[in-house]
């Protein structure tokens, strides 16, 4: 790899790379992010490689291993370029057939995606409802780029925005452009990014400044940052380069959690390649501008995603937040001015600089741009969904997500992780924006979207998040540490049938005080799951307290299993029961001894006749 010394050399390299593209030859694209590998993409890659080598198809079929494409429900999947044919849920056998068909210029029809709503086979990825209703500004690149190859990124227009900015645009003009784009922080709080940059650019410090990419993604059920880092690490690097140029910064840090080994690997390789190419380090593209990025691995504390705790962690100290002010931009890492942005925010920067702020503002209807959500839970199409700001929640859930996974309807959707709240189905027409979510008592957060159906108990959900927070609170400030513990205790009481109406009152009082007095964002937003469920699902709380019943059939202390007349006496439940409390003669209706039953639900999962009721 030769080090580039000027923008002209970069342009020459680009032109050279374009000339090597051979669009006429079909390319097998296999998504192999962490999720893809877990569902078997490795096997597909091995099969494809073996077939290509064995049949000597190197010049007839190309292979590209990429990061996650986002349709997790259908993985391991394969995309064929340039036809855009999509094959879901493949096995090695299917892979083999696809390679053979491709060599003959054919398609394997029986392996195509089957749309359950219309009952038709869909050939092209872009016609599948899951993809059709999205606008993939950021995620689309994941299909096109081999994350381990910087040339792949450059071929797709990568680093062009940076090279252009470096050559033609003044730093102040870059900040103005970001300001005009209306981009707001994608990590949770939604602070205007341009304004943050301006603060850092104005902060004077002879000893240097820092910019940080916050990749400490810890919300349960959220993984969009991971997919971006794994699938397109160079877009983050380019975003940080533009940010560093605009704010006059020379050092950057990517703070990524150690639970993301593949992301760390891809980042390390990407940084190395960028350095070798001359896009990182001193005197970048001969402009005299120098910037380098290092990776800091987090040790797995949720609270380190909070910016002041993150900075302490980078310094090598215990990850504990501190009171702001002073803000990081006044006093950050080692006392130097520091700017912290989320992965997705950084990934948006090259898009803005390439297409211009006007086009970006035009993408969303309320706030500008797109937002990636990780759609998980009781929904048909789980996966990463990128939609313009202002899209109604209903569209995300039903048109893209395909609606509920089981027969019971969607009751609520939990957004924003432990700091967010539950949005009930009555508010699904609400457009996605920072303001509307806040009004509903939740936040967009980093973009987790957990779908819940009628079989989900909202008290159980609130308890789950409170349990998470009680363990993940750093413990420094008293109201957060004790508040989360006490809140969990109160919820535990309610779910075990010991609750009183006094509990609800106390919970509300405690929630207000936690919001008011906790030091950092974690403690201040910790009561949100409780407050939002109390607001929208108070009847469930009352059912637990007054009637001692759990309407969703989840809280073990309040439910009982019984066998109805559908029972054929097959004995499957009796065999699986770990407590041995199901009795009955062969071919006769069985009975459960409720006193000794541990309510594990194993009998219900094996019964083929819907003979076991939860009461």
């Amino acid at each position: 790899m030769e080090r580039l010394r000027s923008s002209e050399e970069f342009e020459t390299l680009r032109q050279h790379l374009f000339s090597t593209i051979r669009p006429e030859i079909p390319m097998v694209v296999i998504p192999a992010g962490t999720c893809g590998q877990a569902s078997g993409a490795e096997k597909l890659i091995r099969t494809a490689q073996r077939e290509i080598l064995a049949k000597k198809l190197q010049e007839k079929v190309f292979l590209r291993i990429t990061g996650c494409h986002g349709f997790c429900e259908m993985e391991p999947s394969v995309l064929i370029e340039p036809y855009r044919t999509f094959y879901p849920e493949l096995d090695a056998d299917g892979m083999q057939r696809i390679i053979h068909a491709l060599a003959d210029g054919k398609m394997v029809e029986d392996l195509l995606y089957f749309d359950p709503s219309t009952g038709e086979k869909i050939e092209k990825q872009d016609d599948i409802p899951f993809f059709r209703h999205q606008s993939r500004l950021l995620l689309a690149k994941n299909e096109k780029v081999d994350p381990l190859n910087i040339y792949d990124y450059i071929k797709n227009g990568g680093y062009l925005a940076f090279s252009n900015v470096l050559k033609n645009i003044r730093p102040e003009a870059v900040i103005d452009e970001v300001k005009r784009s209306g981009l707001r922080g994608r990590g949770g709080a939604g602070f205007p990014t341009g304004m943050k940059w301006k603060f850092l650019a104005d902060a004077e410090n002879k000893n240097g400044k820092y910019i940080v990419c916050n990749a400490d993604e810890g919300d349960p059920g959220a993984y969009m940052d991971r997919s971006l880092l794994e699938g397109n690490p160079h877009s983050i690097i380019e975003g940080m380069l533009i940010g560093a140029y605009a704010t006059g910064t020379d050092s950057g840090v990517i703070y990524v959690r150690s639970e993301y080994p593949l992301a760390i690997k891809h980042l390390t390789v990407a940084l190395k390649q960028a350095r070798h190419t001359g896009l990182l380090g001193t005197d970048i593209l001969g402009s005299g501008f120098g910037f380098d990025i290092s990776i800091v691995k987090g040790a797995g504390a949720f609270v380190c995603g909070e910016e002041t705790a993150l900075m302490r962690s980078i310094e090598g100290r215990m990850g504990e937040p501190r009171q702001r002010p002073p803000f990081p931009v006044e006093k950050g890492i080692y006392g130097k001015p520091t700017l912290i942005n989320n992965v997705e925010t950084w990934a948006n920067i090259p898009v803005i600089m390439t297409n211009g702020a006007e086009k970006y503002t035009g993408t969303g209807s309320i706030n500008s741009g797109t937002k990636i959500f990780s759609l998980v839970g009781k929904i048909k199409n789980t996966g990463l969904v990128e939609v313009p700001m202002g899209t109604p929640i209903r569209k995300v859930l039903y048109e893209i997500g395909g609606g509920q996974a089981d027969s019971t309807g969607i009751k609520a959707v939990q957004t924003g992780g432990p700091s967010g709240g539950c949005i009930p189905s009555s508010l699904f027409e609400m457009p996605i924006s920072y303001e509307s979510f806040a009004e509903a008592g939740s936040i967009i957060g980093s973009g987790g979207m957990i779908v819940m159906d009628e079989n989900t108990c909202m008290i159980d959900v609130a308890k789950y998040f409170m349990n998470f927070l009680k363990d993940e609170s750093c413990g420094k400030c008293f109201t957060c540490r004790k508040g989360t513990q006490r809140m969990h205790e109160l919820l535990e009481d309610i779910s075990s049938g010991k609750g009183t109406m006094e509990h609800l009152k106390l919970m509300e009082e405690l929630a207000i005080v936690m919001k008011d007095t906790a030091m950092c964002g974690l403690g201040q937003t910790a009561p949100n799951p409780v407050l939002s469920t109390l607001k929208y699902f108070k009847d469930e709380y009352i059912a637990h307290i007054e009637n001692k019943r759990c309407p969703a059939g989840v809280c073990k202390a309040l439910i009982r299993f019984s066998i109805n007349e559908n029972c054929t006496g097959c004995g499957a439940c009796a065999r699986i029961c770990p407590e041995n409390v199901i009795m009955g003669e062969k071919k006769e209706r069985h009975v459960i001894d409720s006193d000794r039953c541990s309510r594990c639900g194993a009998c219900r999962s094996v019964c083929k006749f819907e003979a076991i009721d939860v009461i």
Binding site: Q323, D471, F478, I512, T517
Partner: protein, 224 residues
């Protein structure tokens, strides 16, 4: 000089003064548990919260860590502040019911009921001992470990570190410790930091030039 308004009074203070210092200088009482002159502010106990800014955008901040700003409007005893303090005291009382300091606070603020389940902790993790050890004694022998429920004060790996000079500063500063040192009953020790230490009277050869702050020290009394 910075001008700010505290409870309607316009005051001028030096730059770098915290709201707590300014308010106390004017004679407004603000209760604290984790604040001590001579140690850096920490903001752990949250008792010193005050309301800043104009409604409805006002917010509560810990006054011990918040620097005075030009034109800041502060209320140290608004309804919101008092309600928050009462709840904090109720939480404290439920966790450490035997502490005299906390009982006094509860009585002063009229907290007469305790709706949470009773616990018997003593340490409220105010961090005074940790800061005393590192900032005044320059030893850094004790520190915080764990997070959330598991957080505690102690020495690394629960052994006496070489840097500990057995000055007893941690016990001196701890409101709970200094009232009833439980050294010779490690099970009852409050923060478990001192439970790993030998009193200086036992290791006189090593530490003969140090003053001992352990007073009253049960171990000492037994030894003599």
């Amino acid at each position: 000089m910075i001008t700010l308004t505290i409870n309607g009074l316009k005051v001028q203070v030096e730059e770098g003064t915290t709201i707590l210092e300014a308010a106390r200088f004017l004679g407004f009482p603000i209760p604290t548990l984790c604040h001590q002159e001579g140690l850096s502010p920490y903001g752990a106990c949250r008792l010193c919260v005050v309301e800043i800014g104009e409604e409805p955008k006002s917010k509560l901040v810990s006054s011990c860590t918040y620097p005075a700003e030009e034109g800041l409007v502060v209320r140290t005893g608004s309804k919101r502040v008092v309600n928050a303090r009462k709840m904090i005291i109720e939480l404290l009382l439920a966790s450490c019911p035997q502490s005299k300091t906390i009982q006094d606070l509860a009585s002063a603020y009229g907290v007469r009921r305790q709706r949470f389940r009773q616990e018997h902790e003593d340490c409220i993790l105010c961090g005074l001992c940790v800061r005393m050890c590192s900032e005044q004694m320059m030893a850094k022998a004790i520190g915080f470990r764990g997070r959330g429920k598991e957080r505690s004060v102690g020495t690394p790996f629960d052994v006496q570190p070489d840097v500990c000079r057995l000055c007893g500063g941690c016990m001196y500063i701890c409101p709970a410790c200094s009232l009833r040192c439980t050294y010779n009953e490690p099970d009852k020790a409050i923060c478990n930091a001192c439970a790993n230490l030998n009193p200086p009277c036992i290791q006189k050869e090593r530490f003969n030039d140090l003053m001992c702050y352990m007073s009253p020290c049960v171990a000492c009394e037994i030894d003599h």
